[in-house]
Symmetry: C2
Amino acid sequence: MTGLVLTTLAWVPDFPRGYVRDLRVRWALEEAGLPYSVRTVSGKDRGAEHLARQPFGQVPILTDGDITLFESGAILVHLGLQTPVLMPEDPKGRAEVLQWVFAAVNSVETAALPRIICDFAKDDTRTPGREALDTYLTGRLDGMEAVLATRDWLAGRFSIADILMADAFRLFDGTDILADHPACQGYVDRATARPAFQKALADQLAHFAAADAQIAAPAGAIDV
Amino acid sequence: MTGLVLTTLAWVPDFPRGYVRDLRVRWALEEAGLPYSVRTVSGKDRGAEHLARQPFGQVPILTDGDITLFESGAILVHLGLQTPVLMPEDPKGRAEVLQWVFAAVNSVETAALPRIICDFAKDDTRTPGREALDTYLTGRLDGMEAVLATRDWLAGRFSIADILMADAFRLFDGTDILADHPACQGYVDRATARPAFQKALADQLAHFAAADAQIAAPAGAIDV
């Protein structure tokens, strides 16, 4: 595999740094030891060219030779299908990883995101809808707590499923949402202690710090 | 591929009939012309054995020879990797399908579900969190409207991505949520007019109707 190019945002404010979803792709590429280069799109002006490639105006996008795809989950499965260290090649092991990949993005993150969106809006009004959303989230966390009390990684050994599940739980960083789910918190701690995560995080933070420096430079601002 | 067994619920009330997620698997299997048998678990008593297989107590589960996996999205990718009619075998075509698979489950459905959960709780309180959730959903629908105005199917021809995206939009059946997004509504109409969808829907409805008959039979109720 050659010519991997990761597209991310040119600049973001401080608060999403460390959480922009290019992190998931960087993490997988570090786990696999695959080199990549970085391109950027402006976060301020997500113009027609970017929207034609990504209908929600988001990042990351990965270019792999003549293949270009968006959605961090899709990118990780794409890499996993070519890279046994990220996902086993045998159909049984692969199915187990896929099962947990979708549990992360379609069962856990789906339940986590409404809570984070309400928290970000500084809204804790206890409406019936909010109660239902919180009950839904607690059910998902209880399910994952039972699973993670029995194993270090979701599918026998570390895989792309762990990147997606741990990063879904990272939505709760800085909150007490996992306080009653110590196995889930322990899992996040274990995943984020991995050298590949630490390198990916440092690289994302360095990318945005370099953008700060470019904006501040007398030669003129980059297009953020 | 032989011995496909779909596990679904023994019985559900009227309102989720036609929407239980075994429908996605039935639909894919009909598109591919793959025969399958059905097993059931009790919806009332999702006991330890079921929870050991599915941490959220949900269906569907697919057994394919010695492989058993849950999560409808994972099951569809598992089938797609073996069945070119559901997902192309070439890496470029496959990546395009995967991109839309994850757009369905992690971008569109993630935004749709909070709205449906609040509607189900009969809650339309305009809190800041609810406003943010609705804005998030509208952004996703606007993105998909632009895509679906230009094509019949997401990835060149019908694929598992269309099953997942159309079924995510079906969460809005009986609401006016897609009224301002006619290309999205037209896409759902086009997808659900397919003979494979119609067969899958009829089979799910017949399954639960048969359970009604068993419960009503003098010989005694099934364990629902």
